[in-house]
Chain length 450, copies 2
């Protein structure tokens, strides 16, 4: 007999089916035993009635949460008042005639059968193998997988070429702080902090490139917004006419991701009580100076002349823009040139400010990017002013030495974006196997091998 | 004026267009100057005729290979005998009326304008920023991107869920040799050698999972088949009825990848003189013992009783199977249990051999996988016999302690598969930024920071 997924059962009313999955929860009601069985498609209510099968009912009395089972039985429609609109199979239930326990689960360290997980986050992460099974946790990763996959889908639709950026790098091009060192045979090497230089190299061959790759940061403190290993979604495009081409591509990318989430993750968004942010037809764009004027005018806080927006500025600006335009998003560009990396393009009229940009949403940064320097002489000069070791970025400089068009790109983090879309309080919730100062899978014991 | 890609030009005969790209090569013929311009779509022949534009012709006399240019002009059909069937724009040429040099290229270290790159592989890799632009090199990465993307596409079509496996691991679960150590704050950590344990954990939540992730191996010698960082394509599936379900899924995955390559990479395969291997309707499967009998019967080499196939055995077996069935592929399963990792499922009737499998093609291994142990007690016992440190794989063991169904999976390397499909001699050709004992981007200087 072929297996039927729980979500397919409403199409099989009156038929015999075989379902397989885990015991999500068991409820005994007098002589009847109810369980919810969980498979990759969702949940299904099963009833064991001794008048239908003494044997199945007998085995069901021994069922524990997370046991793996196979059940044969008949799909019955539920009376209208007993329909459960929260699950895909909510209009039916399974009347069991046979039950096999495929694998027994040990007693759980805490109850995982409620609608929300009743454990602190560190405890949840200590028991990731169990908590990952919870529908609310799976929903987070469904959203994240959709963010990543819809990013790739949009990039491909725009003729971007997917490449694989390396994790192991020979040097710390963008500054030596917060980088992990690897013992690489007789040499030192480092875990990449960004595929930036590689995507720019690949751009000079393929024009439009994107990558989904790991980046690493030896963040020396425990915060709610940083992990040591995250997924970076990167794009770079050649032959732009202006930095606004990069901005527009970034905007359309985010728009497509949101649209896809709205179409394919409604159940997950509802379960997690999340509302997608509003992107209006054309996201407002301000220079840093304009943004600071707006913040001053609205809040009285005079941040004019500051070199960047601080977190409070970002929240104030976003609330102003939301009120004025209805947009949850706002682009800010034109930061002081020396505040950003050496490769960011300085404005032609005013080289003191650059054509780097950030996309903010609901008070926080979602995405960074901008136009890059493509003229080799200018890039070399910037590398010198920024005191880069040119010998360590030779391959990158070569890409421009041998002819590179006007170009730019952008990047955003999959975990950060997932966290912000879902309004999660801690980025660890948006990472299946989060790594930080005090944890790789398990928490480090205090006396661990130092 | 909107840019036209070179591959689109045959649809614009008689029209004015603007094209942008790199000078692939320049040829002077008396008063006429010809160039091939290269963009992300391919090549286009451009002619500069002083009788059409004195100015454009004058600038064209200064053009050097790899200069970045913009050209306006008219698309003319070529006479039939001058059609170039090797390029998408081969039926037309561009008669230039305006030429702008957007960026100048420095003189190249070697000629990159011929059909094949005239430099040894180490030299090519030393100059990756340039050689990556060569059509024959770009073709390799088009094939690789298609392998990776079609793997994902097939997995999604089979209801597999994409997850992100970590690179940083707390311990060296599968043996300590050839692993890179990271200085992780006050602790030691390691670069992952496989997402194996994580995909099995994720499988207990999502049933069917796949990942495209980096794996690392501190290969201490320079070989043509090993890199220190590669892309692993991994799948794991729950609720199998037999190890053959895993085999069949692996077979259909490879079949889909080959089908997609055949449909979307014909130009690249032709350029690289590669023929896709033949997969017949049902790929032959032999036990190790059966394979050894075949090798003995055909070649006289008595390898019966050996614990694995050696490279010569693999070649002999593949040629036998090819002759007998027409298949370039063959599955081998049933290896000695103790020769494989602790999690591989031992055959129920004969526990001395296991249900691990390899897929061979044209004499080499493409893919490995098989059924895994899902019973917690058995898994624990194996971990003990294999002398695993159970405290270091607690999260993995937990996934099975709390109920796991019969399951299995498989993995293959993107670079290895690209190399073998294209018949490349060195895996470095199948990696955009290859890392090995003696190279991370640049080759290490002998006296480098040891």
């Amino acid at each position: 007999m072929e297996r039927t997924l729980t979500k397919q059962t409403p199409a099989h009313v009156g038929e015999e089916v075989l379902v397989k999955g885990w015991v999500n929860v068991r409820r005994d009601h007098g002589k009847l035993i109810f369980i919810d069985i969980r498979d990759r498609g969702g949940l299904l209510q099963v009833v064991f009635n001794p008048q239908v099968s003494v044997e199945a009912h007998q085995v069901a009395t021994t069922l524990k949460n997370e046991d793996v089972i196979e059940i044969k039985g008949k799909i019955n429609a539920r009376p209208e008042k007993l329909v459960n609109p929260k699950i895909a199979s909510g209009t039916v239930e399974l009347e069991a005639t046979e039950l096999v326990i495929v694998a027994h689960a040990a007693p759980l360290p805490f109850d995982t059968s409620k609608e929300t997980l009743d454990a602190e986050l560190p405890t949840q992460l200590d028991h990731r193998a169990i908590t990952l099974r919870h529908p609310s946790v799976k929903a987070v990763f469904k959203v994240q997988a959709t963010v990543i996959d819809s990013f790739r889908e949009f990039m491909k639709s725009q003729d971007f070429f997917e490449f694989q950026a390396p994790c192991i790098t020979p040097s710390t091009a963008e500054g030596g702080a917060e980088v992990f060192e690897i013992k690489y045979f007789d040499h030192k090497a480092y875990l990449t902090q960004s595929p930036q230089l590689y995507k720019q190299i690949a751009m000079t061959a393929f024009e439009r490139v994107f990558s989904v790759n790991k980046i690493f940061r030896a963040e020396p403190s425990v915060t709610t917004r940083h992990l040591t290993e995250v997924v970076s979604l990167d794009a770079e495009m050649a032959f732009i006419n202006s930095w606004t081409d990069v901005r527009d591509m970034a905007e359309e990318t985010v728009r497509f991701v949101l649209k896809t989430l709205g179409e394919t993750c409604t159940a997950e968004l509802t379960m997690l009580d999340a509302t997608l942010p509003t992107m209006i037809e054309k996201t407002p764009t301000y220079t840093l100076a304009e943004a600071q004027e707006k913040i001053f005018a609205q809040s009285g806080r005079d941040v004019r002349g500051e070199k960047d927006l601080n977190p409070e500025d970002e929240r104030t600006l976003c609330s102003i823009v939301k009120e004025e335009t209805g947009s949850d998003f706002v682009f800010v560009y034109g930061y002081p040139t020396r505040q950003r990396p050496f490769y960011v393009y300085p404005n032609d009229e005013n080289p003191e400010i650059n054509e780097g940009m950030d996309l903010l949403c609901r008070g926080v940064e979602w995405l960074s990017g901008g136009r890059r320097i493509n003229d080799y002489a200018q890039l070399e000069k910037h590398a010198e002013i920024w005191e880069m070791d040119k010998s360590k970025i030779k391959m990158f400089l070569d890409a421009f030495k041998y002819g590179a068009p006007p170009e730019g790109g952008f990047a955003f983090g999959a975990e950060r974006m997932t966290m912000q879309i879902l309004g999660l309080k801690n980025i660890r919730e948006a990472c299946m196997f989060p790594r930080d100062l005090s944890r790789i899978d398990e928490r480090f014991a205090v006396a661990d091998e130092k």
